[in-house]
């Protein structure tokens, strides 16, 4: 089998993870090059057998052997990198968020279409075995017509305030996955939402203009109602639970744990906390999403998460921000004038 040759752009935490997954878990991918503004650790690249490490993006873009790139640079550079990679004829996997403005994502989408390359967006949850099983169950009619959907999304520990400041805010950085999950599971579009936000975890997050706790209720085009609850800090691990309820029943995805051990004693019956971070919780999903991307490139198949999904999720995030700021329900069809950047909840 011919391997698909890949370059990874941006070797931060996520870039390293995707690179390692491609090398270790995706046999039909070959990572030839890694690019970062800073020098990439040679020992790490040696260990993975990656011959090209460079600070010059053109080394990757001009390499005719490289068919596809994985963009894991800081969010602010995503659109520019997509345009350059598309112009160079490379297929693209880009981490979320592609951009905080729907218009910018649409520009990237146009560049990709003009170049005839693929663009997959990093909504990893769509590849989680639990959520996939749920999706299949919904499609197979296990719950009948969907009446309600619920996403519980809570981080283990509040991020540093420096991260919060450049993250785009909770709706764009964090709840964006939840908006996508609502669309993915329901197969329908968010029509309207109402967002309640609060600063309950860390006052510094509030001073930075963001929130750390939110409840978002929403109405979908198919008539179903949805609830998203978010927190930046649980103290008990990464809390990821999902429920779809309908005319014939419901499907629930519970938290996964490092082990299934239960220890019972006079003090109580104690099991593992949920996984501590998204890297562990969605390990299989992160592998499956890059494997699916590589397969799409190799087989010439459509990607399973495209730019239109990124646009829809960002529009929902923008509507949530407007709802929170203006203290009212917001229809997604409203003209989103307040989309000049993700900052400032």
């Amino acid at each position: 089998m011919k391997q698909t040759t890949v370059g990874v752009i941006g070797i931060g935490r996520i870039g390293r993870m995707h690179t390692e997954n491609l090398v270790h878990a995706v046999p039909d991918a070959y990572v030839k090059a890694v690019v970062d503004l800073k020098q990439v650790d040679p020992a790490w690249a040696d260990g993975l057998g990656i011959p090209v490490r460079t600070t010059d993006l053109d080394v990757v873009l001009k390499d005719p052997e490289i068919e596809a790139v994985v963009i894991t640079a800081p969010s602010g550079r995503h659109v520019e990198l997509i345009r350059r990679a598309a112009a160079a004829g490379k297929h693209i996997f880009c981490e979320k968020p592609v951009a905080f403005e729907p218009g910018l994502i649409e520009q990237a989408q146009a560049a990709v279409a003009a170049a005839g390359v693929k663009l997959q967006v990093g909504f990893n949850r769509r590849f989680d075995p639990g959520l996939l099983r749920m999706w299949l169950g919904v499609r197979a009619g296990e719950v009948g017509e969907i009446h309600q959907l619920r996403v519980t999304n809570r981080d283990p520990k509040a991020p540093p305030v420096d991260f919060v400041k450049r993250s785009g805010g909770l709706f764009f950085d964090f709840a964006i996955h939840d908006f996508d999950t609502m669309r993915f599971l329901s197969g329908s579009e968010i029509v309207e939402l109402y967002a309640l936000g609060a600063v309950l975890v860390d006052p510094e997050i509030g001073k930075a203009g963001d929130i750390d706790t939110a409840v978002i209720t929403l109405r979908l085009a198919n008539g179903a109602l949805g609830v998203i609850d978010c927190s930046r800090q649980t103290n008990y691990g990464y809390d990821q639970r999902f429920e779809v309820f309908g005319s014939k029943g419901s499907i629930v995805v519970e938290n996964t744990t490092p082990t299934t051990v239960v220890s019972s004693s006079k003090g109580g019956v104690v099991g593992d906390k949920p996984h501590e971070t998204f890297v562990e919780r969605y390990r299989e999903a992160f592998i499956a999403e890059v494997a699916a991307f590589v397969a799409s490139v190799r087989e010439g198949l459509p990607v399973r998460v495209g730019a239109e999904d990124a646009v829809a999720a960002v529009k929902a995030a923008g509507a949530a921000r407007t709802s929170h700021q203006e203290h009212r329900p917001v229809r997604l069809s409203e003209d989103m004038k307040a989309t000049s950047g993700g900052q400032g909840q």
Binding site: H147, V227, D229, S231, N235
Partner: protein
């Protein structure tokens, strides 16, 4: 323990439950039950006086406490009459669906110097009471989020829907009370999305059968309720309180708590079918608490004010649904404001 003589107005479903529980309860003597529509042939037996006339209970000087279990529209009048007759009152929720009417009754109760407890039975459910204790003891830290899932197993008959006062007044009122009870805080503002997804006839009757309701509480926490009139797998009653130290969750209860593993899968039992099964114990415990507060001359644990506050949230949620905007609960508290 001092024995208290009690009477019951209304021998429908809930009246019978309370009567049967009182007959088995130490320290209480159920003397009489009145209901203009009941025939009392099979039940409750010769030991209990029965009558078609509520006055027979209300005017009996021996009866110290009255349980109002009649249809909702008569709750306020019977509560007033019992209070004026100097009897302590246990009234099923809601006292009325008009907040001014509730206020008038609370005033009557206060002037009469009797005790009033309202039938918010879920507060007395051992599972939910344990959740409340965990919150009160600080096990989850500062409350940040209260989440309630409450789904009935089957949609009620349309005739019931028409006289129910609407889903919020009939069903969600329990959840609003649980939000207040679990958080120890008041609902400041509410926003409700509603839909008719279960039965179009419910929509034609002017009501909804599905809702998601979000709230901001006075302590800063957020809350969310999911309601449906029909969960085909059984009575779906789950709550979660999440806070600065962690969260506590109560799951559905099942008849025998078994798990059957076979080639077909791992099969758990369906939840207990409906409120009679799920909240059986709470109906006993709430009455024990009512009679204990009479004996000890203490304020009942779910008083008239709790009923009024829950009703004010219901009215705000109803207004939010109609106008599709967040509604502050206090606004409805101002005298003279009547919004349906």
């Amino acid at each position: 323990m001092r024995v208290i003589t009690a009477g019951i107005l209304g021998a429908g479903r809930i009246g019978k439950i309370h009567a049967n529980n009182l007959m088995a309860m130490a320290g209480v003597r159920l003397k009489a039950i009145a209901d203009p529509y009941a025939d009392f042939k099979e039940w409750p037996g010769a030991a209990i006086a029965t009558s078609k006339n509520p006055e027979d209970v209300l005017k009996d000087p021996e009866i110290e406490a009255v349980l109002v279990c009649s249809p909702t529209p008569s709750h306020a009048d019977f509560t007033d009459a019992a209070a004026r007759a100097g009897k302590h009152v246990f009234c099923e929720k809601p006292i009325a669906v008009d907040s001014e009417r509730v206020r008038a009754t609370l005033e009557t109760v206060k002037r009469s110097g009797v005790k009033l407890q309202e039938g918010f039975n879920r507060r007395f459910d051992p599972t939910f009471a344990r959740v409340r204790r965990a919150v009160a003891d600080g096990e989850v830290g500062d409350v940040q989020l209260v989440r309630i899932t409450a789904r009935d197993p089957a949609a009620p008959p349309i005739e019931y829907v028409k006289s129910s006062g609407g889903m919020f007044a009939d069903m969600t009122i329990h959840d609003f009370d649980m939000v207040r009870f679990l958080s120890g805080s008041e609902v400041e503002e509410v926003h409700a999305y509603g839909a008719v997804l279960v039965d179009p006839a419910i929509g034609l009757a002017g009501d909804i059968d599905t809702a998601v309701i979000s709230m901001r509480l006075s302590n800063g926490a957020l809350a969310v309720i999911e309601n449906s009139r029909q969960a085909v797998f059984g009575y779906d009653q789950r709550i979660e309180v999440f806070g600065s130290k962690g969260g506590i969750e109560a799951f559905n209860e099942t008849p025998a708590r078994t798990v059957l593993r076979s080639g077909a899968g791992v099969r758990h039992e369906n939840p207990l079918y409906f409120f009679l099964e799920r909240y059986q114990r709470s109906f006993v415990i709430e009455l024990e608490a009512f009679f204990a507060s009479i004996r000890g001359d203490r304020e009942p644990p779910a008083g008239g004010n709790d009923g009024l506050m829950a009703l004010l949230v219901v009215l705000a949620a109803r207004q939010s649904l109609i106008e599709n905007r967040p509604v502050r609960v206090e606004k409805l508290a101002s005298p003279g404001h009547k919004k349906g």
